[in-house]
């Protein structure tokens, strides 16, 4: 698999050197509105295991950093505290419920995520801090950067079963897209309302949503 990819990379490098610097093996991820979608997790089955990415969930400026972390099942994730305040990181997600009191300067023991699935992180001190760790058992995984670009590094070409996850799914498991050759794709559009996530600071209460729906219905 590795070998097969090199010529392609060479080609890509060649193309880049000869024409434009086209970044090899990247894919724009778009939301339903066609906007670049960040923090989208793409999972691919049936491919060789890729080298692990970072497995540290830091807290910087009262935010989880990164906001979304993808780790293979069984990974020990470290929770260093980059802030000089306390954090009380917790998760009630079925995938992994835990509680971790983090003090500045002190090293907490890493948390092992054995089970695949989404883990929503909160801080009991800072309600605004929300982080996500997607624990996956898929061999390849990737995360779209803030520009919505997914790096396809270590992903061999060819069709494979692709799934995706995004923080908007919350505790829901990743959604399977089907068999797709990501390298052959120009872009990947996910059924995510990226704008909604961006705009909604405080979500409507379920009660209000319910009666708004009712009102809308009567309005019709």
């Amino acid at each position: 698999m590795h070998f097969t990819r090199y010529p392609a990379m060479l080609v890509a490098v060649f193309l880049a050197s000869t024409a434009v610097a086209i970044p090899a093996a990247t894919l724009p991820v778009l939301d339903q509105q066609g906007n670049a979608l960040k923090d989208a997790v793409i999972l691919v089955e049936g491919v060789p295991q890729r080298p692990p990415l970072s497995s540290s969930m830091d807290q910087i400026d009262l935010q989880f950093q990164p906001r979304v972390l993808v780790v293979p099942a069984g990974t020990d994730v470290g929770f260093p505290n980059g802030d000089n305040v306390r954090h009380h990181v917790y998760s009630f997600s079925p995938t992994k419920a835990f509680e971790l009191r983090l003090f500045h300067g002190s090293e907490a023991p890493p948390v092992t995520f054995e089970q695949a699935g989404p883990v929503v992180l909160g801080c009991n001190i800072h309600d605004a801090m929300i982080g996500y760790i997607l624990v996956t058992d898929r061999p390849w995984y990737g995360l779209s950067n803030p520009q919505g670009i997914l790096d396809l590094e270590h992903l061999p070409p060819g069709e494979s079963v692709v799934s995706w996850w995004h923080p908007t799914l919350g505790d829901a498991p990743p959604v399977t897209l089907g068999s797709i050759d990501l390298h052959a794709s120009d872009s990947l559009t996910l059924a995510v309302d990226g704008m909604a996530e961006a705009v909604v600071e405080k979500p409507l209460s379920p009660l209000q949503k319910r009666f708004n729906k009712a009102a809308g219905k009567y309005a019709n």
Partner: protein, 770 residues
Amino acid sequence: MRIERLRTRLILLLVGLLALVLGAVFVAVYSATDSSAERQARQQLQVGANVFSRLLELRAQELAGATEVLAADFGFREAVASGDLPTIRSALLNQARRIGADEALFFDADGNIQVSSRMEVSGSQVELSALQPLSTNALVALIDEQPFLLVDAVVMAPLAVGQVAMAFRLTQELAEEMRSLTGLEVSFITAQGDEVLDRVGTLPMDHAIASLETPESSIVDVDGEVYLATRITLLQQDGLQVKAQLLSPLEDALAIFDLLKRELLLITLIALGVSSLAAYVMAGSLSRPVSLLAEAARRIGQGDYASMVTLKRSDELGRLAESIDTMREDIAERERQIAHNAFHDPLTGLGNLAKTRERLADSLSAGRSGALVAFYLSGAEDLIKARGQTFYSHTVVASADRIRARVPTNSLLAYHPGQGFLLVLNNMETDQAVITTDRLITILSERMDNDGMKLNLEWLAGVVAWPHHSDDPDELLRQVAIAAADAHPGPMRISVYQAKRDQDYMRRLRLIRDIHFAAQMRELSVVYQPKLDIASGEVRQVEALMRWHHSELGFIGPDEFILLAEQTGSIHKLTQWILGAIATQMRHWADQGVELGVAMNISALDLDDENFVDQVAKVLEKHGIDPAMLAFEVTESALMVNPERSLRSLHQLREMGISLAVDDYGTGYSSLAMLKSLPVQDLKIDKSFVLNLAEGSEDAVIVRSTIELAHNMGLKVIAEGVENAISLEWLRALGCDTAQGYYISRPIAALDLEAWLEKNRHTYKQTEHS
């Protein structure tokens, strides 16, 4: 009465104006306070409504905070995240109790009610029929058709995993609390359509219903209390509505102004009272003097000039009083003058006729006797004509001055213009009065030097005595005038009234009056006296004589009434009448074949009348009479009045063919020589010469010579007054042509004359034969 009305009117006007002004002020202030009160109430209501909304919000916020606490509790979140319902339940109920919520609910992430406090207590389901956000923190909900304030909090773990809601009933306690904070009556009304499902509030509940349909802001009447109302819609969904009704009692706002109004009313009433009093006093000060002046004017009107009119004021009324007082004095003076003039003669200053009458009446009614003397200046008219009225007036005044101080005391000397002086002598008999009169006439008649002219005045006087002659003042005045008229210069310069003279005078006056109407009253008649032609013994002519038989006074002699007719000018009328009567008779005789001439007397005044000749001609022509058959007899003296005029008339008559005779010849001074120049054919010797004809008498000589002379002059002679055969024979012997007299015939009526002529056709012819 009018003054009273003036005063009343003044008071009414002043008080009315004040009442108007004060009333306007009162109304203005009253309505201003009213509208101010309402505005205040409205403001209060608005403020109250804002406070209410804010309170509700704060309450919600507070409750929301408490609810948030629960939602944020790590243990609770853990329980929710782990679906630990018993823990959720217990925590929920615990918190609900802690914050006093009536209802606590837990919803799962899908919005389904998982836990409710009621379910825990009664096991029944909760029905949430309507829900609507009230503010950012709160909602209003209808739970089992009851209104609730609902606060919710989302349970984040860290994503939303459920929701907690705390519901608080909108209760009367809340309303009371709101009232205590806002000062407004608060009601919560829940309705479905028009049906009120639930209502709680600070007012008794049966009142709230009336307010449901009221507009946003209105005035409502609740049980007699007036409120300003507003409604705040808390929820409106699917025909369900929850409203907060806020009532601000107007009474309270108005009550603030009540004191002000009371004071204003008091001030208005006091001002009105004081003004009315002032108006009353003012009107009185105006109307009282007017009333006094009116009373003074009334007194003056009634003739009381004695009391002075004064008003101690320096204004117009004071001046009016002065004017009225001046008027009072002037009127008094003028009235004295008028009273004086009424009884005094302005020329001499003596009493006048009225004064005389009054004095006579006084004396008569007192039963006293006395005498009234009238002096008059003989020839006064001539004096006036000659010297003028002014000169005469001076004469009168000078005469008055002469005797003014000389009349007896207790007598009255008066002057009656046009008549003379009147003297009332009280308690004096006629003799004494005549003596006094004589003395005064002597004084009056003294030579007078008037305007450089020496005058010898002849004063005459009449005297009448009362009660001897009459007891009536007017009768006495009349009698004294008659007496004075009887006086003549000389020995008869004083004439005492005599009743007989008065009767003659009255009869004459009556005849003068009635003679105008004699013909009209058919009191006149004509009689005829035959004239005998002595030579032939035939009667060829008769003399027509007028007779007046007065209906009351009987037969009036021609001598009397002809003279009066001539004096009064009625003679023309009489002449015309007799001329017409004669002409008619002559026509009749001519038709009968009786050939008879008629002679009639005409007056000097007839000859003087320019129209007389024409009138005669017309009458003759009208009846177809031969002028030769008519003869006129004119007295000698008549021809002397206006000889030229008379002569012309006579000539004209003569030219017509009428015979003319001189009547009553011998009584005047005309000479036969003068008669010769007249166009007359006959001479009629006055009967006074004929009546006593006797041989050798003086009359006989006159008659004889007259006949002879007349004949010599070619005139025929008529003798009248033949009363016996001797006279007739004598006349015949003297050659007299015609005889007339009682011996032949009295003057008789026309029919009698016809019979007489028939009978005596031959009576006098026999004489010739014998």
